[in-house]
Amino acid sequence: MVRIIGFLVGIGFVVVLGYSLIVGAIAYVGNPPVETAEHEFHREPEPVGFSSDGPLGRFDRQQLQRGFQVYKEVCAACHSLRYVAFRNLKDLGFTEPEVDAIADQWQIQIPSVNPETGEDDTRPALASDHFPSPFANETAARAANNNALPPDLSLITKARHGGAPYVYSLLTGYRNPPAELPEEARPGTGLYYNPYFANLNLAMAPPLVADGQVAYADGTEATIEQMSRDVSAFLIWTAEPKMEDRKSLGWAVLIFLVIGTVLAWLAYQNVWRDIKH
């Protein structure tokens, strides 16, 4: 009985699927999908490497400090970094007084309450504060940015396919639209052509426009390429400040487990030595 019902159910599913398949196939043959401009002109991120790549990768702290400087002087005008605190900057090699000074002199103050009157107020940031958002709220951010919302950058290298190479490619990828780009895919007002962006037209104006836009303290030449690379490295760190801990613990755990597993293998062989199986 079970098998008869099962057989009928099976035939039923096959028939319905066959019908869907035929309808889909006819539509596919009669009306083959056309490649969209988004697909045709879109480019994968450039294969750029970072010192933090790979199982042995470590952050280059000089680079992270330079990247932080790019964030501070360029990106921070529009992009928040809300999951990162000033105190975390100690990981980049800044000393405690330096971190205190960075927080105290940050261009935006922390929303607060006046202790005398109870009215809304602001105060200078402390090392324990997270980076304040450049805009009071989403509406203000959109109003200042042609109705586009600058995303928070804390997790950006984890939250985009392609990670840091994508961020780097996006920053260096602005160009004039190619002549063969169809009219409907051309950037509208307030949009900028960038083949690394999913729909080719990005609301962010090119943020890094000139070599030397940022004056690096360590003497590194601040080319657009170098600044993009540095800020991408910095954003790898903001997305995962514990990355180095993870990798070093990983090696210790792996060595421990490999030794343990070899011992377990020997124990297994030893226990079974007299039993054929």
Binding site: V2, R3, G6, F7, V9, G10, I11, F13, V14, V16, L17, G18, Y19, S20, L21, V23, G24, A25, Y28, P33, P55, Y83, N88, P151, S154, L155, K158, A159, R160, H161, G163, A198, A239, E240, P241, K242, D245, R246, K247, L249, G250, W251, V253, L254, L257, V258, G260, T261, A264, W265, A267, Y268, Q269, N270, V271, W272, I275, K276, H277
Partner: protein, 430 residues
């Protein structure tokens, strides 16, 4: 239970004698996973995956309990609380990566365990109830994993919840009301997140309870084996301890090495980038996909594209649930008296086609819902149902099995020493 030649528990220490007369817990352990459980001597490495599934569940429960101490199930702060775990909780990143990758490994191990059960027909009498309970565990694990994925309240969490709970609205008449009742609202929101958190915490303990039943039911007939023939006498078995505890110990080592590689060096490889974006009900991701372990079922769901008496969406929902429900009837669909696929030449061919079919379904389920993936998943879904409901019942009648060995011991000792001497081969010892 067990075989008459099983070793008997004899407490020696006075305290153990005292305990044995009052609460014979050591006796239970001895008879379940100790020397008191005679186990076929010829089990291959596919028999490691039951204990590995148990280990994976324990890892999930331990990391999950500690994560729950730091997580906040509130849509305003859930995403931020996960980042707090990643950045400010001591070793919080380790707990979270272990829990997220541990879920993938749980399913990987479950799928290999089920593969073993299907190939060696472990579902056949007298182990039907073991199989049925295993499927209950599988369903509970799927529900738990789905709800767990919603908790970080990222984009995929939210839209995944939207899509999957939306399936219930396809049910005629009561669908919409049921959908609203399940969510506690019209779309996933704080009420949804809270109930998912509550159930995500509850269900693993329900799973643990069903696992106890699963093992209890298994230990009545005892473990199956790669030849599929019954244990005939003491020469066919070895005590579970130390023989299979040693073998499982090695399996645990390999499992943990692979888990550690993922957790420490590729922690986000199996995840989706969009889930690092906080949930936003006004912005739909370009491609809503569940975690990899749901992809084959997701492909079945999406394979129904045309209304045919019933709406296409309802067909998809019926087929997706049906693809698992039919496994409950497997012991009665496959009536071949031979258990092991090694002795079933036709079954073996169709079985491997099924394995490839499920992998193809998985690939389609992870891709965009567009051609040609839709046509491929339609073909693959047709085969999936045809395999279990049409092909398997027919070949279980028409197939002429290869001759079976007379006993497990004959199967083992009838072979050249140089072949059977090495224990490392995962291939079945015939």
């Amino acid at each position: 239970m067990s075989f008459p030649w099983a070793e008997q528990y004899t407490p020696k220490h006075p305290f153990m004698k005292y305990m044995d007369e009052r609460l014979p817990l050591p006796r239970l352990v001895y008879n379940s996973v100790g020397a008191g459980y005679p186990t076929p001597r010829n089990l291959n490495f596919f028999w490691n995956f039951g204990s590995l599934a148990g280990l994976a569940l324990v890892i999930q429960i331990i990391t999950g309990i500690v994560l729950a101490m730091h997580y906040a199930a509130n849509t305003d702060i859930a995403f931020a609380s996960v980042e707090y775990i990643m950045r400010d909780v001591n070793s919080g990143w380790l707990l979270r990566y272990l829990h997220a990758n541990g879920a993938s490994f749980f399913f990987l191990v479950l799928y290999i365990h089920m593969f073993r059960g299907l190939y060696y027909s472990s579902y056949k009498p007298p182990r039907e109830v073991v199989w049925l309970l295993g499927l209950v565990i599988f369903l509970l694990a799927m529900a738990t994993a789905f709800m767990g994925y919603v908790l970080p309240w990222g984009q995929m969490s939210f839209w995944g919840a939207q899509v999957i709970t939306g399936l219930f609205s396809a049910i005629p008449l009561i669908g919409e009301a049921l959908h609203t009742w399940l969510l506690g609202g019209f779309s996933p929101d704080n009420a949804t997140l809270n109930r998912f958190f509550s159930l995500h915490y509850l269900l693993p303990f329900v799973i643990a309870g069903v696992i106890i039943l699963h093992i209890w039911a298994l230990h009545l007939p005892g473990s199956s084996n790669p030849t599929g023939i019954d244990v005939k006498g003491p020469q066919d078995t070895v005590p579970f301890h130390p023989y299979y505890t040693a073998k499982d110990g090695f399996g645990v080592g390999v499992f943990l090495i692979l888990l550690a590689i993922m957790v420490f060096f590729l922690p986000n490889y199996l995840g989706h980038a969009d889930n690092y974006i906080e949930a936003n009900r006004l912005s739909t991701p370009a491609n809503i996909v569940p975690e990899w372990y749901f992809w084959p079922f997701y492909a079945i769901l999406r394979a129904f594209t045309v209304d045919f008496i019933l709406p296409a969406k309802l067909w998809g929902v019926i087929a997706m649930f049906g693809s698992i429900i039919l496994l409950f009837f497997l012991p009665w669909l496959d009536k071949s008296p031979v258990r092991s696929g090694n002795y079933r030449p036709q079954f073996k061919i169709w079985f491997w086609v099924l394995v490839v079919d499920v992998v193809v379904l998985g690939y389609c389920g992870g891709s965009h819902a567009e051609q040609p993936y839709l046509m491929i998943s339609q073909l693959a879904t047709m085969y999936y149902f045809a395999h279990f409901l049409i092909i398997l019942p027919i070949i279980s009648r028409t197939e002429r099995p290869r001759p079976l060995p007379n006993s497990i011991t004959e199967a083992v000792l009838g072979k050249d020493d140089s072949v059977t001497g090495g224990a490392a081969q995962p291939a079945p010892a015939e």
